[in-house]
């Protein structure tokens, strides 16, 4: 008797909940490289704003492959946090559903998608060259990405897996310096790339990278902006970021709705909320991430605004290079590594 009664109560509660917010029925599935504490925090904030989401987090490259593999049978409703080139490739594969978020107004044109209305950018991150200031002084540190092949930096920096978004971005940043007017890389560029790998510690896992810094072999960190500080804190050293000659590649992260989602309205509502200046400011306050929406930048803490101008950007047209990246990475993997 008790059991039945309990069940009836539970059932009515569920119905009541379902009636108040439709989103409770089934959370939308979000793919993003933002995992662990960041992922949990985003999920909590979203829930507080009335968006039930379930995050599936993995490396950027892995998520990219997964979305492509699931093309016929999409599992995700929204993807965010993949970088320019990856989002551009997914768009070419017709993975996205068009939707212009409420916050697209006021967004600088480079971060909008006025042609297809599919991918909108919300964060930007420089991929920087930093060094362990406890083990190297400013005079001895490289001043440009092109310095890395010098003998004095042999075995002092780590190149991670080319499947990582960060690695891919700075490799592209280096290669485009050697591009001709058609966007093809000169022989000199490929020779440089060979030297860059020969002079480096090459690893395939994040742990192996950390280990190289722990045992003191590596002192120069090629990393995304937030990763530099995180690694320095984990290993226990002071990191100094170099404003390199020739500029630093900037990447921005986008959000899009997956084509074929069965929860289009919930997905649209989530996208509107996520990219809004209010949430972007909250995220900047929590994690120090630099937003791209001018209102969000203006509302961010001062040090975040300062970080935004720490290094000068390298001019890269990601839409132009996106179709070439697979071929370049293949050449690096098969002929250089």
């Amino acid at each position: 008797m008790m059991n039945t009664k309990c069940r009836v109560v539970a059932f009515t509660t569920l119905v009541a909940l379902g009636a108040t917010t439709a989103a409770v029925a089934e959370p939308i599935t979000v793919y993003t490289p933002q995992g662990e504490e960041r992922g949990i925090w985003i999920t909590e904030q979203a829930a507080a704003a009335g968006h039930e989401i379930e995050i599936l987090s993995a490396g950027g490259g892995e998520l990219f492959d997964r979305i492509l593999a699931e093309k016929a049978n999409p599992q995700a409703d929204v993807v965010f946090g993949l970088i320019d080139a990856a989002m551009a490739s997914l768009k070419t594969e017709s993975m996205f559903q068009a939707y212009e978020p409420a916050w697209a107004q006021g967004l600088p044109a480079v971060y909008r998608d006025d042609v297809d209305n599919m991918v909108y950018k919300f964060w930007q991150t420089p991929i920087v060259l930093a060094y362990n200031a406890d083990a190297m002084d400013a005079a001895g540190a490289p001043t440009s990405w092109l310095d890395l092949t010098k003998p004095e930096f042999s075995g002092k920096y780590v190149i991670g897996s080319s499947a990582w978004q960060t690695t891919k971005s700075y490799l592209v940043g280096i290669l485009v310096r050697f591009a001709d007017e058609n966007g093809d890389i000169s022989d000199e560029g490929w020779t440089f790339m060979q030297d860059l790998y020969d002079n480096a510690i090459v690893v395939e896992s994040g742990d192996a990278k950390t280990a190289a810094f722990v045992n003191g072999d590596a002192v120069i960190d090629l990393n995304w902006f937030g990763g530099v500080g995180r690694q320095a804190a984990d290993v226990g050293y002071t990191a100094t970021i170099v404003d390199t000659e020739g500029g630093t590649p900037f990447i921005s992260e986008g959000i899009a709705i997956i084509d074929g989602t069965d929860q289009l309205d919930a997905a649209k509502a989530f996208v509107d909320w996520f990219g809004s200046p209010e949430f972007m400011i909250a995220y900047a306050e929590e994690f120090g991430q630099v937003p791209v929406h001018p209102e969000a930048v203006a509302g961010s803490p001062m040090e975040v605004q300062a970080n935004a101008t720490l290094v000068s950007p390298q001019d890269i047209d990601w839409d132009d290079v996106a179709p070439k990246i697979d071929g370049w990475m293949q050449r690096i993997e098969l002929e250089i590594k």
């Binding site: 892995e62 492959d65 593999a69 699931e70 090459v202 395939e204 896992s205 993997e333 002929e335 590594k337």
Partner: protein, 564 residues
Amino acid sequence: MTGLQFQKGLYYIGIALILWVAVSFIVAPIYSVLTQAFVDGSGLNFGAAQELAASGRVSNAIRNTLIVSALSVLTVNIIGIFEVAALEYLDIKGRRFLKFAYAMPLIFGSVVAATGYNFTYGQTGVVTRAIQSIFPALPNDWFSGVFAVVVAHTFLLTSFHYLFLRAAIRRVDYSVIEAARSLGASNLRAFRSVVLPLLLPTIFAASLLVTYESLGSFAIPAVVGGQRFDMIAELILTLNSLRRPDMAAMLSVLLGVAVILCVLLLQRIEKRGSYSGGAKTPVAIQRIRLSNPVTNTLTHGFAYLIAALQLLPVALVVLFSFAPAKSIMSEVIPSSLSLKNYAAVLSGGEAFTPLKNSLFMGGTAVAMALLVSLFVVILANRHRNKLTTALDLTFMLPWTLPVPFIAIGLIVTFATPNLLIGNQTLLGSYWILPIGYAIVVIPLMIRFLRAAFYALDPFQLEAAQALGAPPLYRFMRVTLPAIAPIIVLVAGLNINTILSEYTMSAFLFNVNNKPLSIALFEGARSANPEQAAINLVYMTLIMVFSYVIISIADRYGLGKSSGR
């Protein structure tokens, strides 16, 4: 009679299903690999081969694979023949201990052994730290590249010698050895010129199996090979992740041709018969006591040294699985022991997931494979015609093909909606991996079940038939109970194989079904001691499981199966 008709209907549905399985999951994937490799939109195309030839990394991988295979055959034979001689030809004290130690590769293989060697000799390995405390100059990565892979192969691939060569030497007629010795031959000479020639066919067969395993070696080079060292199997995976399935397919065809050559040679040797030297009623071999004290001491020393090297990684893994995570990367002998790591894995948290995944996928794969294999064997038993022979051969095909070949086939076939499976996409789904496992274990199952059927008493079945029992009833009441023990054992042996299966797993796993072998591999590269502790527990559990299954199988005379 409607019951009989129903059974007949069921039987034809079964045949249709089996044909569908064969076409969808064996023929179609093989066809896909070949078309990927050689055909593009405009017809025959060798572009993938040209690109492969141009790649420095590919030629390095091919060279590494050939060097490793050639060296492995040599070193495995040296150690393997010595082990067999020490156990069966010479009188060495502590034979039972040696036998135990030399049997280690039977339970310590694939990714388990690879991570075990890494734990012992790798960058932060116990032995590496122990040596560094005496010789600080030893580089962290001393155990890497060709050297490390060949050393690991040398000890781990002796399982074929342990299983087959020991059986062969026992068949040697002792009177022949005695005759040689009475003619004045020394022990060594008698071994070299009388025993060894009799063993040559078996040695050759074991060498081919070693070549076969070395050519397709994946887990060992991936874990202990170190940075910028590849062998072919790994590179096929890399090519696939670079979204060049055509190049991956081409390289798997190359590997496939090499492996098929090995298999064909092996079959010729098997046909010629390896029993030529065996007497019909051999006089059991008497183990020879070495009379020269120096030779005797040296031989004992060498025998124990090999035993120690075989046991060391296993012992360290088991010992440290009881050690606190803190001591794993810092101590040479743990200062305290507890069951905490086991509790962490078995309490059902995150660390339990890969174990659960592998057990579940292993169980379902084996169940699917058993159904298919049973039906194929029954069919071949009842009707001997072209169709059943073709079916039989089709299901045996995966045995002659390297695993990366089959994996690439499944990926290419099921990356897009495929009509064969109701326009579904399998890539990225949970089920693609258990299906892959099933394909790989079916050939061995068919072999065992066929043997079990041959051993059935035909009179019982005839009696049942004479008494009017319908086919399904005969199968359920007579055949099945008779072969049930074999089925249980074969299931156990194959779940055991799947628990540490690495190659298929690496190609087909995804975040929903990450299996034990992949967790082990990732754990081996992790600098986190908690992860290392969990890894050691996984490895110990797999070894215990293997030990139990193989001991039971051995008692039933099925021990040979563990060779593959």
